[in-house]
Symmetry: D3
Subunit: 244 residues, 6 copies
């Protein structure tokens, strides 16, 4: 089975780190390929960044279809372009916010999300609603750590995230933690040990869900909303996105 993991930002070092995490949980026989789009923002911290990450992401999905991938993971906690990607793909496409929230709801009656910047909290709540996970989500907490700061070994990111996780348990009454950024994947196990409660990272969760769906013979529903986009003209810089 071949899974294509797409980090929608263009920071390749993050892509490598999260691909390594993905491979650690993948089953024997699952090959995970990690990529970044050729175009778009270095990190995703606003609706603007998110919107502009999508064209490059869709290009990677379309290439993936030509290359025969079985499933895709979109590895940014805003799950950018998820529905559009599903229109292109025959197999499953899983977002990491979606994956983490669903998995959390299977092992705990409640969770809090611990994320990077407060300005993205609204997006996390919006996704929770869209996936039906709002009823499990006690809070979305921001550490006010920029996404690329997570990569800086000199930063105290791990300590600050761990502290916020502890506050989520104590103040929100959350029974599990969802990490709100693909860049936190590497920290997941250590934080879980430190706080003594389940901590769910979306990258690894999404890989397992994608694997599971493929094993079950299930792909994206192709009647109705997620059918292949209709062919039509595209203009200007994006003319190559036309589909026939």
């Amino acid at each position: 089975m071949r899974i294509k993991l797409i980090n929608p930002n263009t920071t390749w070092s993050m892509t490598e780190a999260m691909t390594a995490c993905a491979r650690q949980v993948a089953a024997a026989g699952t090959e995970v390929t990690g990529v970044s789009p050729e175009m778009g923002p270095a990190s995703i911290e606003s609706h603007y960044d998110e919107a502009l990450a999508v064209p490059g992401l869709l290009q990677e999905i379309e290439r993936g279809e030509r290359d025969g991938y079985d499933a895709y993971v979109i590895a940014c906690f805003g799950d950018p372009g998820l529905s559009a990607a599903r229109e292109l793909a025959q197999g499953p496409v899983i977002g990491i916010a979606e994956a983490a929230m669903h998995m959390a709801s299977l092992i705990a009656p409640s969770f809090s999300v611990v994320t990077t910047l407060a300005r993205t909290s609204g997006m996390a709540w919006h996704l929770a609603e869209r996936y039906g996970m709002q009823r499990f989500c006690r809070n979305v907490r921001a550490c006010e750590i920029a996404v690329l700061e997570l990569e800086d070994p000199a930063s105290d990111a791990r300590a600050r995230i761990t502290d916020e996780c502890r506050r989520a348990l104590a103040e929100d009454g959350a029974e599990a933690i969802v990490l709100g950024c693909a860049g936190m994947a590497e920290l997941c196990a250590a934080i879980g040990r430190d706080i003594g409660a389940p901590v769910i990272d979306g990258v690894t969760a999404a890989v397992k869900l994608a694997e599971s769906l493929v094993a079950l013979g299930l792909g994206t529903a192709k009647r109705g909303e997620l059918a292949r986009p209709l062919p039509k003209a595209y203009h200007g810089l994006l003319r190559e996105f036309a589909r026939s």
Copy 2:
């Protein structure tokens, strides 16, 4: 007051038609400029099209800010890129689905949406939920008319849409109709007369809401989620979208 009306698809004839509709309702002293993006799809009928309409749309918003526009209307019923556009703009940005649904809820206890292709119904429901308008929305009905077909004088689009509106009143118990495509703006008044119930077109509704907010001295909230995007590097085809 200067309002920039952005038709997010690249079919300029539609832009002209909807701009004419917009000008008919604009107040004396309101100048409406209608544009299409330089890049993107000829029509928007899928999540894929919608995602790829957004970069060109955001470019027009950013230009509009440099040109000192007071407000913006996004004239596609999927309200593509609305939150991202709001991050860029100081003044109000109004989507036409948003405008039509809000206006309908002010004059009727219920409405049905009559739109183009069934595959976009899910998007309309999603927007209704996001805007809090789901409780007023009885149904989303598709005529299975492609967007560009609306422009064809030889088509029977008006008759088919009118029939669907009548069914919405009779079968859904809807008390008003929301037209689910900017390309239907020209038909609004005639259909309203034919069916004897309020018919709301989002293009004109959005122009009046944008005007109203400007007259009230209200712009987009710039603290929190809709603050200006942070500066960062952008790569590849989209590198010009980097903000500093």
Copy 3:
């Protein structure tokens, strides 16, 4: 265009003040007439007051219909008698809570209401739900200022309201403020400047929405729930309310 602004309480000085606010935002060509009912409470601070403000309000709507008004604004934050008024009117009828909440949702992902007495908070929440605006409403905060106290120049109403608005931004994470009383209309612009965030007053918002709907040729839906009331006998003190 002629809009009738009805202050449902019988304190004429408040009516004059809010009519002046309304006229400041009205378009050239819009004539705003402000009235108070001939009967009812001097201020509305309970369900009881609200219920007893409605007969006088409906009398003003019925007179307005005879006088050919194009639209109505009900200028009390409980939006008393809104559905009944809509049954009587051909044109739009807009409540100020409704107007302020809808407008706030167009420019901010969240708002808090700052109102007079805590005992009216439940009504504000109830309206937010009814209009679909609950999802945007972070909190309803009371200053414990009586309605008529707002008119007393010696009171510190403006300072107390401004403080409560600041707390709403800081503690609720609200991104905009909705003022919860028609008597606060005059303070709107000044508070907005002081707190540096959008502050929405329902009186002016409702005038612009009423104007907009009239400009769009839209009136109240007259099939179904909001059809004219059926003729029937009325008895006692209210016998003059019989309709034929």
Copy 4:
């Protein structure tokens, strides 16, 4: 124990009929007094009628307090003036829609409401939401029988209502029926026998709930929203409603 049953319309023959029903279910030791207000509409079939039924109703509550009643029933399915009445009363005040819906939810996983005119269906849905009973309510069905027609022995009201109840069981999958008008109280038992499913009438249900709350020593919560209205001036025709 003394319960005051207030029929908010001014059709005394209906008041007598429903008072008789109420007395049939009242416990030994419960005295039920049935009244109609001195002012207001002969029947309630619109928001307008409902609003104008409230002053007379509140007058009866206030008199009831002076006369020492233990509890009140508001016997119109729109539950007009319920919150205002609760502000005035020390003891419980129960609306018949409220009573019927709550009781239905205790014996069946779902119910449909069968009511008079379709134009009142929106009100029934609104009440279902307000009481938390929307999740049990499958449908609101109208027989298009005017309220006063229910009293006409020559009408075929019973047959038409029974038919509609049968359709509710078959088409909605409802497991119980809530009768949507106080004027249907007399028919309740017979329809229940005819259709072989529980049929709940609000008048009798409300009497039992009022009795129960009094027996439990429970009255209306007097802190917060339902505290006694503040004293203030009232003007014009309604000046007698001023409270001190």
Copy 5:
């Protein structure tokens, strides 16, 4: 009328205490029989305890049917086995959480639940949702008193519960209190007097609701979900539960 009150735990002293409370509010002519199951846990403080209390409870319902009881009360705040019990019974079956929440919603716009152990809070919220009472429920507060501790005269249970009730009024803005354990029934009146707000105990509330439904001639709906269970084989320890 004969009501069977089933305390689903096997601590007979609690059964006696709550039966005494029930009898104090029962109408003349109502006979209340209090029982504990022959099998199951001494107290119910987890999903596990709750699940294992149900077989003994159902045995008592089945016996009750043979003995001709008119109605049943399930006297544990988790309302264990409620739907299963309703399948067995012809008459009404009322849970005490259900009863208390419904009754609270009739006299107050909001309530908080004050219960025993925090680990049961999720169950209380789940029930509030299921009954439609979530919108009235401000908070579920735990005193961290074990169920059997409530019986210990040397404990300070009453003081601790009263303190928590006062905090609910002050911090949650609750206007009434629902006691979250059948073992608190005896304390209800005293706490109500102490805090000056309505305090609702589910045991007594349920008795009155059961009485009311029987007086109205209403039993459990026997078509659809709550029809008698189908006959089938049962094995092992529970083989006696087979129904024919």
Copy 6:
């Protein structure tokens, strides 16, 4: 990895069939053990059956803990005893309704459930709500096939279920199907081929989710609601269920 699959009914032939299905999708290295409880109903078709299946199920979970199983699947579409089982288990416990609904929501914007008897539809809706999956669930459709009939090779179960699935696609607009009984697991692939849309069986879905969680190092959250039950006395037939 060792997963214990518990069929909560006592029909061993069904257990064998579903265990075979489970093993077909299990990863290399996953050992699936299928069991039926020693006590309880031969099939589960009512709340009564479901309640009485739980003690035997919990006994199997407790034995599983002693035997060191990594995860559990509860293989009945009512997900009986799920929360109680989670209190006992360290590892994940997955219900098949839960698994199927979550998986369906990852590949389709909507699904309908096709189940056995109509009387269980309410349970399916209740679970959909509890898991947050109600927003994806278009309908719950019953074939009126008894559970044990599914095993009868002479029955036309497969044809009837396939027809109902087709109706779900056509009439509900569902884009995927969730099979509403563990006894349908064997039919899943064939029906999917026949109807040309994704068909999700909960047994296999749950096995993959359980496997995934174990691979991620995630178990049930042990603070709060799902902590191990407190030790206490148990009486009568169920005294062996006491925990110390």
